[in-house]
């Protein structure tokens, strides 16, 4: 079990041994289909957590609903699988409540860009120190294969037998346009690279958007379609230049991976209205009578 060091319930923190990636696994076995791209992302997350020596008792993995949103159950940290599309506002609440926590949000393209799409721009522009890992497979898996907001135009599924009428969302461009302070893309077939991106995202003080291309072998197997198009961002790409990042986001010839953009700007929780300690500590020794006096 988790050591008590790092948690506030213990007076004197004790040194703890670094946890191996496998020690971040929970007792719940993943429900994903064999060959699911999300296994790669999960393995990368375990690796990243181990590298950063995250304390499971001080880490919260939040998700919405969908295949990839099952992920918190498979990680032995605190977790919260919320409602469909609500991962970002819930994760924001966790982070505001206690800025000392490492908060990682996860989910799929349907959860994040369709039903939860209304929250995307706002979480991004508030810039809470949250790392948001989207497992984008361009299809709805848990409901068995309907078109998703990132599916290609004309995509034929059971819900779109004559082909989808909707052009796909460009999540990377969307995040950049909303003012994201860290944006990266990886491919779940390259878990080492995804690990590096997640490590960098967690270390980034602000909202880190990480789009992982994570194929669904059951309903839209894109491994062979995507693998030849995956390439690192061009040498000389300047991740401090939002315009360059935007141009890369709109590339049609390839699926570039790497850190598109990074900047430092104040986080939500560093804003003056939010104290830098857990809010629950503000509840001590308060006498409301002082406030009531102003109504005399």
């Amino acid at each position: 079990m988790a050591k008590k060091s790092g948690t506030r319930s213990e007076a004197a923190p004790k040194a703890k041994p670094k946890l191996l990636p496998k020690e971040y696994k929970s007792h719940v076995k993943p429900t994903w289909c064999p060959g699911c791209g999300d296994f790669g992302v999960l393995a990368s997350l375990y690796q990243a957590m181990s590298k950063l020596e995250l304390d499971p008792a001080n880490t919260v993995v939040v998700s919405g609903i969908g295949c990839s949103s099952r992920l918190p159950f498979f990680v032995r940290t605190y977790g919260f699988q919320t409602a469909h599309g609500r991962v970002l506002p819930v994760a924001t609440g966790v982070k505001i409540a206690n800025p000392d926590l490492t908060v990682i949000a996860v989910g799929g393209d349907g959860d994040g860009f369709s039903i939860g799409g209304g929250h995307m721009a706002h979480a991004v522009r508030r810039n809470p120190d949250i790392t948001y890992v989207v497992m984008d497979n361009e299809v709805y898996g848990l409901t068995k294969g309907q078109t998703s907001p990132t599916s290609p135009l004309g995509f034929q599924t059971k819900s779109t037998p004559y082909g989808s009428s909707d052009a796909p969302i460009n999540p990377m461009a969307w995040a950049l346009a909303s003012g994201v302070s860290f944006a990266a893309r990886g491919f779940s077939g390259e878990p080492k690279h995804v690990t590096d991106l997640i490590v960098e995202g967690i270390q980034h003080p602000g909202f880190a958007f990480i789009q992982t291309m994570s194929p669904c072998p059951t309903f839209y197997n894109t491994f062979d379609l995507w693998r030849p198009r995956i390439e690192q961002l061009p040498e000389g790409h300047d991740p401090t230049d939002r315009t360059q990042a935007m141009a890369q986001a709109f590339r049609g010839d390839a699926i570039p991976v790497g850190v598109f953009y990074r900047e430092l700007r104040p986080t939500l929780e560093s804003h003056t209205r939010v104290t830098d300690h857990p809010l629950r500590e503000g509840a001590r020794d308060y006498d409301v009578r002082a406030l009531l006096e102003i109504y005399r």
Binding site: G93, I96, H119
Partner: protein, 601 residues
């Protein structure tokens, strides 16, 4: 004539006559001079333009309702006369501006044409006619003029020091006009305040909710602006940072409650506030909070619905969604505040219950209660226990099970960063560890667990005394023949009507619970025993509360429904009660008889 209560209404054009700010000044001034007050206001949904109305009822004793006929109408324009004169007593006082219109033909009362606008302009105060009017009004009904001057200085002096002198002159101009021009005896004067029963505070329902929430330890609030709950968001945004908390205005109500759920998972007492349209959007998150057993408080300040409805009008029509909203079986504790003072206590109680039972608690108020100001005694926060959710014991980390099946249904909740007991909360049905589990046995057991908490809450809450539990008014219950069973802000009109009738000797009693779910059924059955009729007044068309009570007690209540967007008046309650009273009033027993025996109900 010297009166114990005085009802003054001011009507004018939004953005021009400043009737609302005049009302705020007058309210504070009258309360400071020792009177009890109860205000009511209507305003258009438009930002500029449209008729506004502010009403102040002042009394020597507590003023529980907005009253019936007004004694004084201050009409800034002719439209105000047209809109409000029907509610003016035939022998009442009208103050009007002859620059706006002539004295209305056929008015039987006393009309004073005072050149409000001209006097203000003479002082180079383009927007000063409301102050001239206040000065005149104060002189006409015998209010405390020096207190009015001091209050204007306190309220506006800091913001606009350059106007201190001209404001003073405007008040004086109105006051002096009455002294100079009216020589005959004034028809109406408010009796001097009762110095033994001085009110202590004057505040609005929404402000009282904020104070109660802060007293209970609320340190995170998220909201989306919506009438009539926006000023809870605004007040929280101002106050929470002062006490080490935080406020977030979110992109919509879904995000507001979602972030509140997240903050609560991280161990903070958290709240959101909204009105009907936003409350509809919050249903999915309420279901999640029930399933994942997350404490949180949601305030719904009801306005007239459905849909966008009438944002600036009150209604008690969101009881059904509070009780039944959302899918699946997710019992939610539902409280309804009865007065401004009660807003404070119920907000505290909401946190107490949500933390104790680890579930969402809904606090219902409404537009009229949210925005009215009322005088009240200094609330006593020590009357409500301030507690925190049950946490895992230090030796529990090894085999911690977040959703352990316990006898009470309550299981320890670990807080990330504070307890070394990681678990994953979820809206899926789950086993004791929190892992998804769809087996028939586990779903049954976990539904029982969540239901058990609610049943224990029901037991704990049924016997609650005021201020947290049922409040009764009127004659001792065993002496009553007709009863009134009310909820929410309708309590005010009921209290006034029933107390007045009881004082006249009519056998009438009223009961007003604060906890609507779980309903204190036994208490209600005790109250109804032996009564010829129980009347249930509520501001909705279908009698939602009456149906709820019937479902739990099989009592057939006599519904009294009003649904125009305005609260009940005491007269409306009285008229309905009278229909069921055949007996002549019995004069109350002289006070020399044993009061103790009579008082026990």
């Amino acid at each position: 004539m010297i009166v114990d209560t005085l009802l003054i209404r001011m009507g004018g054009e939004s953005g021009i006559d400043n009737a609302i700010s005049a009302g705020d000044v007058l309210t504070r001034s009258v309360a400071r001079s020792g009177y009890h007050v109860h205000t009511f206001r209507t305003y258009p949904a438009e930002i500029k333009g449209g008729p506004v109305m502010f009403q102040l009822r002042a009394g020597v004793r507590r003023v529980p309702s907005l009253g019936d006929k007004m004694d004084v109408l201050l009409a800034f324009n002719e439209e105000a006369w047209d809109l409000h004169h029907k509610a003016l007593r035939p022998d009442g006082i009208l103050i009007y501006d002859p620059g706006e219109h002539d004295a209305p033909a056929g008015f039987q009362g006393t009309a004073y044409g005072i050149p409000l606008d001209r006097m203000a302009r003479d002082l180079n105060l383009r927007k000063g006619k409301n102050l001239v009017a206040l000065g005149a009004l104060t002189a006409l009904v015998g209010l405390d003029f020096p207190m009015l001057q001091a209050t204007v200085k306190d309220m506006y002096g800091k913001k606009r020091p350059q106007f201190i002198e001209s404001n003073r002159m405007a008040l004086l101009a109105g006051y002096q006009w009455v002294k100079d021009n009216i020589s005959e005896e004034l028809p109406l004067r408010l009796a001097p305040p009762d110095t033994t029963h001085k009110p202590e505070l004057v505040m609005s329902g929404n402000r009282a909710i904020v104070a109660g929430a802060l007293a209970a330890g609320c340190r995170y609030f998220a909201g989306y602006p919506i009438t009539p709950a926006s000023d809870i968001l605004e007040e929280m945004a101002r106050r929470l940072p002062e006490v080490g908390g935080a406020t977030l205005q979110t992109e919509d109500e879904i995000a507001a409650i979602a972030s509140v759920v997240g903050a609560s998972i991280a161990g903070v007492k958290a709240m959101t506030a909204t009105s009907g349209p936003g409350f509809s959007l919050m249903q999915e998150m309420l279901g999640l909070a029930t399933m994942a057993e997350v404490p949180l408080v949601v305030v719904n300040s009801m306005r007239a619905g459905p849909s966008t409805g009438m944002p600036t009008k009150m209604e008690q029509a969101d009881l059904n969604i509070a009780l039944y909203g959302g899918h699946g079986e997710a019992p939610r504790i539902t409280l309804a505040a009865r007065s401004v003072e009660d807003c404070f206590y119920q907000a505290m109680q909401a946190f107490y219950l949500s933390e104790t039972f680890q579930m969402p608690v809904i606090l219902l108020t409404d537009q009229s209660l949210s925005h009215r100001t009322e005088t009240l005694p200094m609330p006593n926060p020590d009357l409500v226990p301030v507690v925190e959710r049950l946490r895992p014991a230090a030796d529990e980390a090894e085999d911690y099970q977040r959703y352990r099946l316990t006898e009470s249904g309550i299981s320890p909740m670990g807080i990330p960063g504070f307890d070394a007991t990681p678990f994953t909360a979820t809206g899926l049905e789950h086993d004791e560890s929190g892992a998804p589990n769809y087996t028939p046995d586990m779903h049954t057991a976990q539904l029982d667990k969540r239901g058990q908490k609610f049943e224990i809450a029901a037991e704990a809450l049924c016997g609650l005394e005021p201020p947290l539990g049922c409040i009764s008014y009127g004659v001792p219950e065993e002496d009553a023949e007709v009863g009134v069973l009310a909820w929410g802000s309708t309590a005010g009109a009921v209290r006034e009507a029933v107390e007045e009738m009881a004082a006249e000797g009519y056998p009438v009693a009223a009961l007003v619970p604060a906890v609507i779910n779980p309903l204190p059924s036994d208490r209600i059955l005790d109250f109804a025993r032996g009564l010829k009729a129980v009347i249930a007044p509520e501001v909705n068309r279908t009698g939602q509360f009456a149906a709820w009570v019937k479902a739990h007690t099989e009592l057939h209540l006599i519904s009294l429904n009003k649904y125009g967007g305005l609260p009940f008046t005491p007269q409306e309650i009285r008229a309905k009660v009278m229909e069921f009273l055949v007996a002549e009033p019995v004069k109350p027993a002289p006070e020399s008889e044993s009061v103790e025996e009579v008082a026990h109900g």
